[in-house]
């Protein structure tokens, strides 16, 4: 791999999408793409793996569901059973209808919060985290591809120009590391 990379700016999402398809076709590796809003089809065009977020959330929801039942079983049935108006409430199965609302709420609580926490950790989002978009306009109206140079920089550059890039910057990664 070369130690140089390219920062290519685009000003339109459709041009960007076409360009990404071309770059992938010409087998140049794309490190990262920064966009101001979700560009639909971009993840497929740059061959990103689908995210497992919803599977994780399902598991989190199951945890919440189990925790809720175990908690209420311990509190209401095992630790301190109460006679509430003579109602049948001395086994879990008898008392479970009135546990349904809280089972539901805790399932949602666990699923939602653990999912968001997972998202923040995986995408490195937390207070005092420094942002990593190389160009400030990528949160406004510009789209930036951070990519490898390919074997021939000049050739890559002409290709990108043709694809509608508005600016191409060569980044020397070795210097960054020093």
């Amino acid at each position: 791999m070369s130690s140089k990379s390219l920062h290519v700016l685009f000003d339109d999402d459709d041009t960007l999408l076409d360009a990404v398809k071309q770059i992938v076709k010409s087998k140049i590796y794309i490190n990262e793409i920064y966009t101001p809003f979700p560009v639909h089809g971009l993840d497929k065009a740059m061959k990103l793996k689908p995210t497992n977020m919803s599977i994780a959330t399902f598991i989190y929801g199951c945890i919440g569901f189990t925790v809720a039942i175990m908690m209420m079983n311990y509190i209401m049935i095992v630790d301190w059973p109460q006679n509430i108006g003579g109602k049948p409430s001395f086994t879990l199965i008898e008392n479970i209808p009135s546990f349904v609302p809280i089972i539901f709420e805790m399932t949602v609580f666990f699923a939602a919060h653990l999912m968001v926490i997972t998202f923040y950790l995986k995408s490195k989002l937390w207070p005092f985290k420094k942002s990593e978009n190389p160009h400030p306009s990528t949160t406004d109206d510009k789209f930036l591809i951070d990519m490898e140079t390919g074997t021939n920089i000049a050739k890559t550059k002409t290709m990108l120009k043709k694809l509608g890039a508005i600016s191409i910057e060569i980044i020397n990664n070795d210097e960054d590391e020093k």
Binding site: P38, T51, M72, P101, E105, F109, E132
Partner: protein, 461 residues
């Protein structure tokens, strides 16, 4: 362009000749310019009302609940009325952002941010009332199932009031993270164009270092969708559980199985009305007419009309079922509600909630900004009276005629209510000057399909 096709019959959701950068400019403007005199006046009035409320709350806590107008017969009145009213208002935000996201309604994008903000602020107001009503708010931790020094005396999971604690706290926290996650890219936008160092620091801190990588967006979209899927049953469950506070009791007038769906419809009804009130002012003041269009207002009016009609059906069903039940206590509760000493409250509720939204059948009225504003206020008043009618009229004439009485609020009752309205507007006014009030990153995704200029371009072809 072809991938952004939308039927020409659909009205544009972004008016004017806007580019991506114009959207950024328009959303950032209220944050980057100092507030004008009107804002300070509104803020001053709200703050004064808030402080008045704080005074009344301190007096209540210092002296006791006896400072309220409650009596032996009417043990629940304005406090729970206000609680249910605020929770109900808090339903529109998550409904707009979650349910409308699942239904792929693009018009939600212009209004979801502010609606969610309103949700969070009004649930905060709602949460205040049970806490104050405890009389000893420093014992609030007794609400939660934590092991304690009383031989581990636990909370009662069979009580609908405890279900409420779980429902409201889940709703508040989930709405908050939903809102904040959606805000990250927009905070990042403000951060990256901030000139003042202090502003840059603050927005860097609260944008959590959002960079907008392709993978982040992929996760972001999935998280939004799954959160919407979780929030949709959640929003329906919250008011269902609030209605259980009444429906699981044995009081005639409360003990009805229609309560959950009827409360949920009422909550959406009042929530949309409040969104309408706030956004009609905000679109004008913050010059957002291009993003919160008459089309948006019309859509919200249609929702108000439909939920208003559902609520009307529920009122009439209640009356019918009371008669049909053959239970004289039940029959009397409703007869008393409509024709007893509180007939005026019942009449206000009926005319504000059932009759007034029916004018929305006329296109002229539901596309008129003045009318929409007036009706939204009327609906909010009506919904407050609905809760008052349900709560007070069911209690004030109980099984024992010798204890029949009326309820009249003291100035402390009124002060706390006005205080929460003030607090709500203080929060909303601060929000309107420091947060991106339109989800700009989402609006940018629909610009090419639903923007007026792009639609015109396609029509020409």
């Amino acid at each position: 362009m072809s991938s952004h096709y939308e039927a020409p019959i659909r009205k544009p959701l972004v008016i004017g000749d806007k580019s991506y950068h114009d959207i950024t400019e328009d959303i950032a403007r209220p944050i980057e310019t100092p507030p004008n005199k009107d804002w300070w006046i509104a803020f001053g009035i709200s703050m004064a009302a808030f402080m008045w409320g704080v005074g009344c709350i301190i007096y209540t806590i210092g002296t006791g609940i006896g400072t309220w107008g409650l009596n032996k017969t009417v043990g629940w009145a304005w406090d729970i009325t206000n609680f249910v009213w605020w929770v109900g208002i808090g339903h529109a935000g998550t409904l707009i952002s979650a349910v409308l996201l699942l239904f792929r309604q693009k018009w939600r994008m212009g209004i979801n941010r502010s609606a969610e903000a309103m949700t969070i602020f009004s649930v905060i107001q709602a949460g205040l009332f049970p806490v104050i009503h405890m009389g000893r708010p420093w014992l609030i931790y007794w609400f939660f199932p934590i092991p304690n020094q009383f031989g581990s005396l636990w909370v009662n999971f069979n009580s609908p009031l405890l279900w409420d604690v779980f429902a409201i706290s889940t709703y508040l926290t989930v709405s908050l993270v939903f809102w904040w996650t959606g805000l990250l890219p927009d905070f990042a936008m403000i951060r990256d164009r901030a000139v003042k160092p202090f502003q840059k620091k603050i927005y860097s801190l609260i944008s959590f270092g959002w960079s907008g990588r392709a993978k982040d967006w992929q996760r972001f979209e999935e998280v939004s969708l799954v959160l919407a899927g979780l929030a949709t049953p959640l929003v329906l469950s919250v008011h269902t559980i609030v209605s259980f506070d009444f429906a699981t009791s044995v009081i005639p007038g409360w003990h009805t199985t229609i309560f959950p769906p009827y409360f949920v419809a009422g909550a959406i009804f009042s929530g949309f009305a409040m969104v309408q009130t706030l956004l009609i002012i905000m679109r004008k003041v913050s010059r957002l007419e291009s993003y919160i269009t008459v089309q948006h207002i019309e859509m919200m009016n249609i929702v108000i009309m439909i939920t208003g009609s559902i609520v009307g059906c529920a009122y009439i069903t209640e009356l019918f079922i009371a008669w049909y039940s053959g239970v004289e206590y039940e029959q009397y509760a409703f007869l008393n509600r409509a024709t007893g000493p509180y007939w005026w409250a019942y009449f206000l509720m009926m005319s504000c909630n059932v009759v007034s939204p029916q004018v929305m059948w006329f296109k002229k009225i539901r596309t008129s900004i003045i009318w929409s504003f007036v009706i939204s206020i009327v609906v909010n008043v009506g919904m407050w009276f609905e809760r008052f009618v349900i709560i007070v009229t069911s209690l004030h004439r109980d099984y024992l005629p010798s204890s029949w009485t009326m309820f009249s609020p003291t100035f402390i009752d009124i002060g706390i209510f006005i205080g929460t309205i003030g607090f709500f507007f203080v929060l909303f006014l601060l929000y309107a000057r420091s947060f991106p009030v339109v989800a700009q990153s989402e609006v940018k995704t629909i610009l090419k399909s639903s923007g007026e200029n792009y639609k015109k371009l396609r029509d020409k072809k």
